[in-house]
Amino acid sequence: MIQKGEDLLSGGAAASAPAEPGLVGRGLARLRGRRFLVANILLAPTTMWLVLFMVLPLLVVLVYSFGSRGAFGDVVLGFSLHNYAKVFSPLWFPIILRSFGFAAVATLLTLAMGYPLAYFIAMYGGRRKSLYLILIMLPFWTSYLIRTYSWIVILRSQGVVNTVLTSLGVINDPLNLLNTRFSVILGLTYGFLPFMTLPLYASLEKLDKSLIEAAQDLGASRLWTLLTVTVPLSLPGIVAGTLLVFIPAVGDFVTPDLLGGPDQTMIGNVIQSQFLSTRDWAYGSALSFSLMAILLVAILLYVRKVGAEELG
């Protein structure tokens, strides 16, 4: 992670070394110039697309976030921080805290399910390894919306769980399972479990198994081996998995929208309603930028903390 960061900062220092003097040097410089040109021609469509349809739109959101709502739901440009003050006001900030809380719980749950799963496939998969993997990839490839919807079929008052429990005589009145904190966290956990499992598997698969055997030959117990050898060695997978789950989970709006009620609103729902129903785009923009800024700080703190542990 850290090395990659340095790589990013130096911007490919190796390629920008000064050309050697003399005839050979000039020839090399011209070759380098030609390569640079060809590379840029090949990259041009992607560069153009990402500048026009990612960088500029994000800048528009940034500009909007300092504006205010006009009389007809349009954005009046300006420079005011009142939208940001609103984001961090006691009325709205609890929603952001809730989003981070739900996402954190879901991330821990996916880790608790995904780690043993990935460990099993990597260590005991044997001949059926690719079957086990395909079964993880399948939910990863299928629609998140539909997988979320399937929990409505299971949890609603005439749903599968309530029908089974009623017919068994366990309950008389249907349980209220949908539109609860439980259903939203369940939905997030279910939705993002493959995002956790796949990077964990990738790093456990690469792990040198003789290190585990060595620890056990030297008398370490299974648990001790797991905690002091396997888990630290699979740390890159844990970091990648938690980020891949946590980031989309914080900003998710499908799960709280379908499986949650008014008390489970997350920041994604607020952004959506600001853009599509309340039509306060300026405030929605400030929410979007605040979300990205808080996420960025959280990720940096997390990566630094894990990185420090790895070194120490």
Binding site: T46, L50, S130, S143, L193, R222, L258
Partner: protein, 272 residues
């Protein structure tokens, strides 16, 4: 000896846990498939097998229109993203130039921005540029988030390329363009195909970004499912869902076959 038995016992505990996690992953999908064939509107008890929800689906012109829109968007966006992404992946693995590692890092940005932020940013961008929302804006948006996925997949394939093959072709008298068409491109092909399939599935299933950038009346299948769910759970939704799950699963299996074939071609020299 004792340890062997320990290992088996431990693996047994792990096996049970893993079986439960798999059950958790697949129970909802099994429920959807089951109830899409259930002859009951109320949907929670089994009332016999029927195909009527599927036939209702194919008779529903709104669903068919949504399917047509979905395919149109997915096909055009996949072609664009695959061409752009493959060219970029080739450039990034082949040339090291000033800023290339910055570029290699920057392609991850669309993958880590929360989807809803990407969606509203595109909406704001189209609004600021005065572009009305239509299927065109949906296609533009899909290409923007898909191209990075294609680059990552194709770049992974390219990193296993042995440049000696190209040099051999040139030594045998092929020019640069012939070498590219006869040696480099065939090697890249499975990666390009896998990238295209992934891009297609991402576009086919996309809800959030489409939701913000499609405007009125340009419904795709995920948008149709969403609006139906908002009206209430019906067996027809289960049928559409199973149809969509089926398409995604088929494409995954296809990709898997391409990639396992790819592994074989890479391993062949070792065997000989």
């Amino acid at each position: 000896m004792r340890r062997r038995r320990d290992q088996r016992i431990k693996a047994k505990g792990l096996r049970v846990y893993v079986a439960l996690v798999y059950a958790f992953l697949f129970a909802p999908i099994v429920v959807l498939v089951l109830f899409s064939f259930n002859n009951s509107r109320r949907n929670a008890t089994w009332k016999g097998f029927t195909l009527k929800w599927y036939s209702a689906l194919f008779g529903d012109s709104a669903v068919l229109d949504a399917f047509k829109n979905t395919m149109k968007v997915a096909i055009i966006a996949t072609i664009l993203a695959t061409i752009f992404g493959s060219l970029a992946a080739y450039a990034l693995t082949r040339y090291h130039f000033r800023g290339s590692s910055l570029y290699n890092g920057a392609i991850y940005v669309p993958l880590v921005i929360p989807e809803i932020v990407f969606g509203v940013a595109l909406l704001s961008g189209f609004n600021a540029a005065g572009l009305g929302l239509s299927l065109k804006t949906v296609i533009i948006s899909h290409v923007a988030f898909m191209v990075s996925f294609v680059i990552v997949v194709v770049r992974a394939r390219m990193s296993g390329f042995d440049r000696a093959l190209e040099e051999a072709a040139m030594d045998l008298g092929a020019n640069e363009i012939q070498t590219f068409y006869l040696v480099t491109l065939p090697f890249m092909a499975p990666g390009i195909m896998a990238g295209a399939l992934l891009a297609f599935v991402l576009s086919f299933d996309d809800f959030v970004i489409t939701f913000f950038n499609s405007g009125v009346g340009n419904t795709t299948l995920p948008l149709k499912v969403y609006s139906m769910v908002k009206f209430g759970v019906t067996p027809e939704i289960n049928a559409i869902s199973v149809f969509m799950l089926g398409i995604s699963s088929l494409l995954l299996l296809l990709t898997y076959r391409i990639q396992s074939g790819e592994r074989r071609t890479v391993q062949e020299p070792d065997k000989g």
